[in-house]
Amino acid sequence: MSAVFERSGRVWTFGDEVSIEYISPLRYMFNPDGRGQNCLKYLDPVFAAAQKQGDLIVAGTQFGQGPGHDHAILAIREAGIEGVVAASFAPQFFRHAIVHGLLVAECPGVLDLVGAGEQLTMDFATGRGRNQSRGTELRARVPEGPAAQIIEAGGLMPFLRAQVAAQPG
């Protein structure tokens, strides 16, 4: 599954303990209008206003903490972000990212290895990354086993469609 999950993009950085309330306020759970455009607006208005299709987010510890709603992942995807590399993720955010096909990799201390505006290449299947701007390598943990299979299928729904189709009767 390698290569398919390699992404290269400009990096936007966020600090530790970014709550899903800052990624996407609760009201977008019920009304998706403007969800992508307003993603992370309160923490970085420049990010919100920028054209960022194909870019990557690099963040500190506990990215996506707070209540376990998954509209925050949809907001990130709708903002055009392909993947998130964080020092660590809140557990439920990590699960939901896999559900919705948002690529994730966990790399302790990543904010020391990659800076805002730098160019990062990350293979979200193997966890091997390269900071193109600095010419340095990094290693990250990526989902394994059944979670990796879901990612490989492109998210939970395509995965389940295949499972259901394969069932007898």
């Binding site: 506990q62 998954d70 809140a90 439920q92 086993g145 059944p146 979670a147 939970l156 499972q163």
Partner: protein, 418 residues
């Protein structure tokens, strides 16, 4: 191989002899709970698969956030749920009149059983660890259980928290939970299972243990869990026909961290607005003027919370200019509080007692206007949780909430009760 209670439950649910922390597994949940507001995350996507619900007897639907429906959108949501349950043969739907907060119903109806794996689309699933159930919050990912009957899990590392001592007067389990979670913090707690043991845990009541396990969510723990006592086993057996086999941690099980606390020395605590772990002593925030007080939620709407609040407010009137709202966690809790005269005590004190729902906790009836301040026994206090983005929420025990309603500002119940 020695295992913790969490590892044993996951191993059994996965059909494996043993599991180790970090291992990715697939497992079958014994029960799957979905609340009314869970529909948008789960319902339409599941229905798009065009398959029946696998083992609908495992599935429980609860009306709790918006019960009874207060607008047309939510009325339609409830109707959709009723149709969905009828279509898929889901008989355990807790409709209006039988409603309550999913986590509370799960314990009171015997859905959370010792030694079982439970999944719930609502954030505070951890609450049900109180009976020795591995209860984990999910969202859209629950569709996997509905469609194919299993889900993936990563076995968490466990933290052992040993508690001893006796609570000082005016101090509650809520304060203990606040103390412990502030001390553990997210860097340690996140993604882990927090297991509570020790003499204080063994003698604690179920509502107390539910509050303790609930609060493990504040450090992003996957679960909070207790090795169930004989009293707990008897309680659950009374409430379910389904046989269950409890599991217990081995004495030589492995923990990545062990902490020990004496609760005797603990004091009432409050979480300041914006972060449930922004812990303050009462002295630090006492005197802050409040506009609303809320007694309720899966962390603070138990019979014991109602007893505590009534002990402060009985025979008195809440402060002029303050409104207080009280929402029992379930119909069973409501009836018990009624039979003990607690609802009357609160009502006589000027408190609005509502039906048993999540209530004001998530921004339901009891919304805050701009710049208003609320003190609440509920679960979250991020900006805008209860309404206006410029409102503020302090979190504290039922005693603190009631004392503050009485004084019109954040107050220490110990000075009121004296």
């Amino acid at each position: 191989m020695p295992m913790t209670i969490s590892e044993k439950i996951l191993a059994r649910a996965a059909g494996l002899e043993s599991v180790v922390p970090g291992q990715y597994i697939t497992a079958r949940a014994d029960t799957a709970i979905i609340c009314d507001l869970g529909w948008p995350s789960v319902g339409p996507l599941f229905e798009s698969l065009g398959v029946p619900v696998v083992e609908p007897d495992r599935v429980i639907v609860t009306f709790d956030h918006t019960a009874p429906a207060e607008n047309e959108y939510n009325a339609q949501l409830h109707k959709t749920w009723r149709e969905f349950c009828a279509k898929h043969g889901i008989t355990r739907i807790h409709d209006i009149g039988d409603q309550g907060i999913s986590h509370v119903l799960s314990v009171q109806k015997g859905y959370a059983r010792p030694g079982t794996l439970q999944i719930n689309v609502d954030t505070h699933a951890n609450t049900c660890g109180a009976v020795g159930c591995f209860a984990i919050a999910m969202g859209t990912d629950m569709i996997s259980d509905l469609a194919v009957g299993w889900n993936w899990y990563q076995v968490p590392e466990s933290i052992l928290v040993h508690l001893e001592g006796d609570l000082a007067p005016g101090v509650t389990m809520r304060d203990v939970a606040q103390h412990i979670m502030s001390d553990l913090g997210q860097d340690l707690g996140s993604g882990r299972a927090i297991e509570f043991v020790g003499p204080f845990v063994e003698q604690a009541t179920l509502p107390q243990l539910m509050t303790l396990c609930n609060w493990s969510r504040k450090v992003q723990a996957v679960v909070g869990i207790v090795n169930p006592s004989e009293a707990t086993l008897a309680y659950v057996r009374e409430r379910t026909e389904v046989p269950f086999e409890p599991l217990y941690s081995d004495p030589d099980a492995r923990y990545i961290e062990r902490r020990s606390y004496d609760v005797s020395a603990m004091e009432p605590l409050v979480a300041a607005p914006g972060d449930p772990l922004a812990t303050r002593s009462l002295a630090q925030v006492a005197g802050t003027v409040i506009h609303q007080a809320f007694l309720g939620s899966c962390a603070g709407g138990s019979i014991e919370d109602f007893r505590a609040a009534a002990s402060v407010l009985r025979g008195k009137r809440i402060h002029e200019g303050v409104r207080m709202i009280a929402s029992p966690g379930s119909q069973e809790t409501w009836r018990l509080a009624e039979s003990e005269g607690l609802l009357r005590d609160l009502s006589d004190a000027g408190v609005l007692v509502t039906g048993s729902t999540c209530g004001a906790c998530y921004g339901g009836a009891g919304v805050l206007a701009g710049d208003e301040v609320c003190i609440s026994t509920s679960t979250e206090n991020f900006q805008g949780r209860m309404g206006s983005m410029t409102s503020s929420i302090y979190l504290g025990s039922a005693l603190t909430v009631a004392a503050s309603a009485l004084e019109g500002r954040i107050a220490d119940a110990r000075s009121v009760l004296r």
